[in-house]
C-alpha cells in the first residue's frame, strides 16, 4: 500500500478515536435500578442519572399548571420481588401514551435533597401489555383491564 494512504488512514482513525473517547466520557451516565440508588443515594445527589423501575400508582397526583401537568408518583424496583425499594418521582411535562400502572419506565433526571427524583424525561416501555402477555388468556386480560377502570 501507498505510504500516503497509510498516513491518511492513521489520521482518520486517530481523529475518530479521539472523538469517541471525548464524547463517550461526556455522555456516559449512570443507569441504576431503584435498589442501586437507595443503597448509596448521597453519592448521586445533583448528578444526572437514569433510573428504571415499575410504576406503582393506580392514580397519579397531578396538577395542571401553566408549565404543564406536574405529576407525582412512585416507582419500585422491578427485579426484586419481595419488598422492593421505592422512590417518588416528580415530573413536569407529558407522560408517554403508554404510561400506566405496572409499566416499566426509564426516568432521566436527578435526585433532590428530599430523596425525591426530579425527572426531566420519562420513557415508558410497557412490555407487559403487548408481548409478554403470551401466556395469559385474552379474556383474563380484558377482565383485568375492566377492573382497573
Amino acid at each position: 500500500m501507498n505510504k500516503k494512504i497509510v498516513i491518511a488512514i492513521i489520521l482518520m482513525l486517530a481523529t475518530v478515536g479521539y472523538l469517541i473517547s471525548a464524547s463517550f466520557v461526556n455522555n456516559k451516565i449512570s443507569y441504576l435500578s431503584i435498589n442501586d440508588l437507595k443503597a448509596s443515594p448521597s453519592s448521586f445527589i445533583g448528578k444526572e442519572i437514569k433510573i428504571t423501575g415499575k410504576v406503582l400508582n393506580d392514580k397519579l397526583e397531578e396538577k395542571l399548571t401553566s408549565e404543564g401537568k406536574v405529576y407525582k408518583f412512585k416507582i419500585k424496583d422491578k427485579l426484586i420481588k419481595k419488598d422492593p425499594a421505592k422512590i417518588t418521582i416528580l415530573y413536569t411535562g407529558v407522560l408517554p401514551d403508554s404510561f400506566q400502572k405496572d409499566a416499566d419506565v426509564v426516568c432521566t433526571g436527578e435526585l433532590n435533597k428530599n430523596g425525591e427524583f426530579v425527572a426531566s424525561s420519562i420513557i415508558s416501555k410497557c412490555p407487559s401489555k403487548y408481548e409478554s402477555q403470551g401466556d395469559e388468556h385474552p379474556d383474563e386480560i380484558k377482565i383485568k383491564n375492566t377492573d382497573k377502570k
Binding site: 461526556n26 451516565i29 449512570s30 395542571l64 404543564g68 420513557i123 408481548e131 380484558k142 383491564n145
Partner: protein
C-alpha cells in the same frame, strides 16, 4: 387452519432436509441430476411455507381465535389490512413472515437462475437450504405461531387487539421492508460463499447477485426512512430518530450495504476491491443477524418493547458459526482475492471509494460501540447508559466526511486526478462552495455558535458542493447527447439504462444530499408549550396557534377521539386549521395514542401535539415544535427510491 398450517410447516422442514442432502450429494458426485432434485425439493418446501403463511393470514382475517397468536394480536374491530399486518406485529408471526420472505426469494432466484450455470448452484442450494432450515426450526420449535388453546382452556370470546401505535400506514410497510432488505442479503451471501468455495471469484457472482444486493439495499433504505417517518408522525415527541438500539440495528446493515454496492460496482468495472466486496457482503449479513439478536433477545435495553425470549441466543449461535466459516473461507482464498489498482496519485477515484468504505465501517463501529457499551460496562460491574448526544457528536463528522467524498469522487478520475478535471471542475466548485458558506455565515451568524450548528453549516455547504458536481455531470452528459444528435428516447436510454450506474447513481446521491439538508435542520429545532383556554394563543416564531374548540368524537367503533381545534395564523394571517387529537382505543389493550398535527412547508414543519386536556373546563395543553427543513428527509427518500429503479436494468454482461 392451525392444523393445516402446522402440518405444512413440518412437511416443508422434512423436504428441506432432503433438498440439502441432495445438494451435498450433487457436489460430491458432480451430478446434474441431483442438482435438479435438490432444486425441486427446495422449491416445494418454499411453496409449502407460503401455503401455511397464507393459512395464518386467513386465520387472522376470519377471526379464528382458536389460535393463540391470532387472539393476541387482533380483535373483531381491527380493520382488514391491519389484520393482515398483525402477521408481523408479534414475534412468532414475524419470524414466520421472515421465513416466508426467504422462501419467496429462493423461489424467484431458482426460477430466474441462468440454465447454464451449474457450478455455483449446488453450493447456493445448500447454503440457502440451511438458512431456511434455521428459520423453520425456530418457527416450529421455539416460537410457533400456530399454537392453539388447549382443550382445557376456554376459547376467548374476542381477541386482545393490535397495539394502536402499530395501526398506522407506515407500520404496514416498515417491518416488511426491513425484512425484505435483511433477507436479500442472505441471497448475496449465498453467492459469496459459492464463489469462494468454487473459486469463481471474478465478476460472475456479482453480476448474478447484483439485483439482489440492489433490491435489499433499496428495501433497507426505505425501511429506515419509513421507520423514521413513523417515529415522527406517531410518537409525538417532535423527533424522528433517537439512536435507540433497535433503530441502530437496522441502520448499521444499511451502512455496510451501501459500501457493498459501491465496492461491487468497482469490482465489476475495474476488477479491484475483491476482498472489500466480499468482506462487506459478509459483514452486512452478519449485522442483520446481530440486529435480529439485539431486537429479539432483550439483551440490550431498548425503548421498543419486544419479547424477552431465548431465541436471541439461537441467532448468536448462528452468527458465530457464520463468522467462523466466513473467516476460514477468506483465509483459504486470500491469494485469489488479491487485486492491483496501480494508482498514479493519492487523489484518485479508487481512493475515494477506499476511504468511503473505511468511513462506513468506522461509522458502524461508532454506532455498535455506543449501542453495546452499556453491556460492555456491565461486564465490569458499572451500570451506565449512553446519551444520544454521543451518536450525534461522533457520527456527524463521519457522515460529513462521506458527504465530502460523495462530491469529490466524480471529479477524480480513475488512477489519478487529471489537470483538466482539477481546473475546470474541482477548483470552481470549491470556490463557489466557499463563497456560499461565507454568505450563509453572514446571513445567519448563529450558525457558527454551537458545535451542532457548525455540523449543520458543513452539511449545507457540502450539500451545495455536491449539487454543483451533480449539475456538472448532467450538463456534460446533455452536451454530449446533443452533439451526438440523440433523440429524446435514446438519450433517456443512454442515461438511465446504458450508463445507469453513473447517472441514476447521481440522482440517488442527490436524494442523499436532500436527506443531509433535512438532517442539517435538526440543529435549529425549537419548541414551546402552553396551557390554553378558549381563544387564547400560543405564539412560536411567526406562527400563532389560537385554540377554538375541544370536542369528543365517538362515531368510530374501535376508538373515541378527543379533538382540539386550533386556528393557525402566520404573520397575522389565518392559513390553516389544525386538529391535533388523542385516540382512546376500546379494545382490550385500551391504548391511547396522540395524533399530531403537522403544517409542512419546504422551509419548516410546524408540529403540534395535544398533550393534555380537560374537556369540562375547556382547557388544553399543547406543545408546538418548529422543525426546519425536515420535509427534505422524506423528499430525499422518495427521490432515492425513484431514481434507484433504473439501476435494475441489467446490462448484458457476458457470463
Amino acid at each position: 387452519m392451525a392444523l393445516l398450517g402446522q402440518l405444512f410447516l413440518y412437511l416443508a422442514f422434512i423436504i428441506l432436509i432432503f433438498s440439502i442432502i441432495f445438494a451435498v450429494f450433487a457436489i460430491k458426485k458432480k451430478s446434474i441430476k441431483y442438482i435438479e432434485v435438490s432444486k425441486y425439493l427446495i422449491l416445494s418446501s418454499s411453496f409449502l411455507i407460503w401455503v401455511s403463511t397464507i393459512a395464518l393470514v386467513y386465520a387472522f382475517v376470519t377471526n379464528d381465535y382458536t389460535i393463540k397468536f391470532v387472539a393476541h394480536y387482533s380483535d373483531s374491530t381491527t380493520g382488514f389490512w391491519y389484520k393482515v399486518s398483525a402477521l408481523w406485529a408479534g414475534q412468532a408471526g414475524s419470524l414466520l413472515f421472515w421465513t416466508a420472505i426467504l422462501a419467496m426469494f429462493i423461489i424467484i432466484l431458482i426460477l430466474t437462475y441462468p440454465k447454464k450455470e451449474k457450478i455455483m448452484l449446488p453450493h447456493i442450494l445448500w447454503f440457502l437450504g440451511l438458512s431456511l432450515l434455521f428459520f423453520l426450526y425456530i418457527v416450529l420449535f421455539t416460537s410457533n405461531p400456530f399454537e392453539i388453546f388447549s382443550l382445557k382452556e376456554k376459547l376467548p370470546t374476542d381477541g386482545v387487539g393490535l397495539n394502536p401505535q402499530l395501526q398506522t400506514f407506515s407500520m404496514l410497510f416498515h417491518p416488511p421492508l426491513l425484512y425484505l432488505g435483511y433477507v436479500g442479503f442472505n441471497i448475496v451471501v449465498a453467492f459469496i460463499f459459492a464463489g469462494l468455495i468454487t473459486n469463481k471469484l471474478d465478476s460472475e457472482w456479482i453480476i448474478l447477485s447484483r439485483n439482489w444486493a440492489l433490491v435489499s439495499w433499496l428495501f433497507l433504505t426505505m425501511g429506515n426512512i419509513l421507520g423514521a417517518q413513523w417515529a415522527y408522525t406517531e410518537l409525538g415527541w417532535g423527533g424522528f430518530w433517537a439512536w435507540d438500539p433497535v433503530e441502530n440495528a437496522s441502520f448499521v446493515p444499511w451502512l455496510t450495504s451501501t459500501a457493498y454496492i459501491h465496492s461491487a460496482n468497482l469490482q465489476l468495472k475495474r476488477g479491484i476491491f475483491k476482498k472489500w466486496t466480499i468482506v462487506l457482503g459478509m459483514i452486512t449479513y452478519a449485522l442483520t443477524i446481530l440486529g435480529t439478536f439485539i431486537t429479539r433477545s432483550g439483551f440490550i435495553d431498548s425503548v421498543h418493547a419486544f419479547a424477552k425470549s431465548t431465541i436471541g441466543w439461537y441467532f448468536i449461535g448462528f452468527l458465530i458459526i457464520f463468522s467462523i466459516i466466513s473467516i476460514f473461507l477468506l483465509i483459504y482464498r486470500l491469494k485469489q482475492l488479491k487485486t492491483y489498482a496501480n494508482l498514479k496519485s493519492f487523489f484518485s477515484r479508487e481512493n475515494s471509494y477506499l476511504f468511503a468504505n473505511l468511513a462506513f465501517l468506522v461509522g458502524v463501529f461508532i454506532v455498535l460501540f455506543g449501542t453495546l457499551s452499556p453491556n460492555i460496562f456491565k461486564a465490569f460491574g458499572e451500570k451506565i447508559s449512553i446519551n444520544k448526544e454521543y451518536f450525534n457528536q461522533v457520527f456527524s463528522p463521519i457522515g460529513l466526511f462521506i458527504l465530502l467524498l460523495m462530491g469529490l469522487a466524480p471529479t477524480f478520475s480513475w488512477k489519478k486526478i487529471t489537470e483538466n478535471n482539477f481546473k475546470k471542475r474541482l477548483l470552481p466548485a470549491f470556490t463557489l462552495t466557499i463563497i456560499f458558506t461565507i454568505a450563509v455565515i453572514i446571513l445567519k451568524p448563529e450558525m457558527i455558535k454551537k458545535i451542532s450548528s457548525i455540523y449543520s453549516l458543513l452539511a449545507i455547504s457540502l450539500s451545495f458542493f455536491n449539487i454543483i458536481i451533480i449539475t456538472y455531470e448532467f450538463s456534460w452528459a446533455f452536451k454530449y447527447l446533443k452533439k451526438e444528435n440523440y433523440s429524446f428516447k435514446n438519450a433517456i436510454i443512454w442515461l438511465f439504462v446504458k450508463r445507469n450506474s453513473k447517472y441514476a447513481g447521481y440522482l440517488v446521491h442527490l436524494g442523499m444530499v436532500m436527506i443531509f439538508i433535512g438532517l442539517a435542520g435538526t440543529a435549529f429545532n425549537t419548541e414551546k408549550a402552553k396551557m390554553l383556554e378558549i381563544n387564547q394563543s400560543l405564539k412560536i416564531d411567526s406562527y400563532q396557534l389560537k385554540f377554538k374548540k375541544i370536542y369528543l368524537d365517538s362515531s368510530n367503533i374501535d376508538k373515541d377521539q378527543v379533538y382540539a381545534l386550533i386556528d393557525l395564523y402566520k404573520n397575522g394571517k389565518k392559513i390553516d386549521t389544525l386538529k391535533p387529537h388523542k385516540n382512546f382505543y376500546n379494545n382490550a389493550i385500551e391504548g391511547v395514542t396522540s395524533e399530531v398535527s403537522i403544517y409542512s412547508t419546504l422551509a419548516e414543519d410546524l408540529y403540534v401535539v395535544l398533550e393534555g386536556f380537560d374537556i369540562e373546563k375547556n382547557l388544553i395543553f399543547i406543545r408546538a415544535y418548529i422543525n426546519p427543513l425536515i420535509i427534505w428527509l422524506w423528499i430525499g427518500g422518495f427521490i432515492i427510491m425513484i431514481s434507484s429503479l433504473p439501476l435494475f436494468f441489467r446490462k448484458k454482461y457476458k457470463i
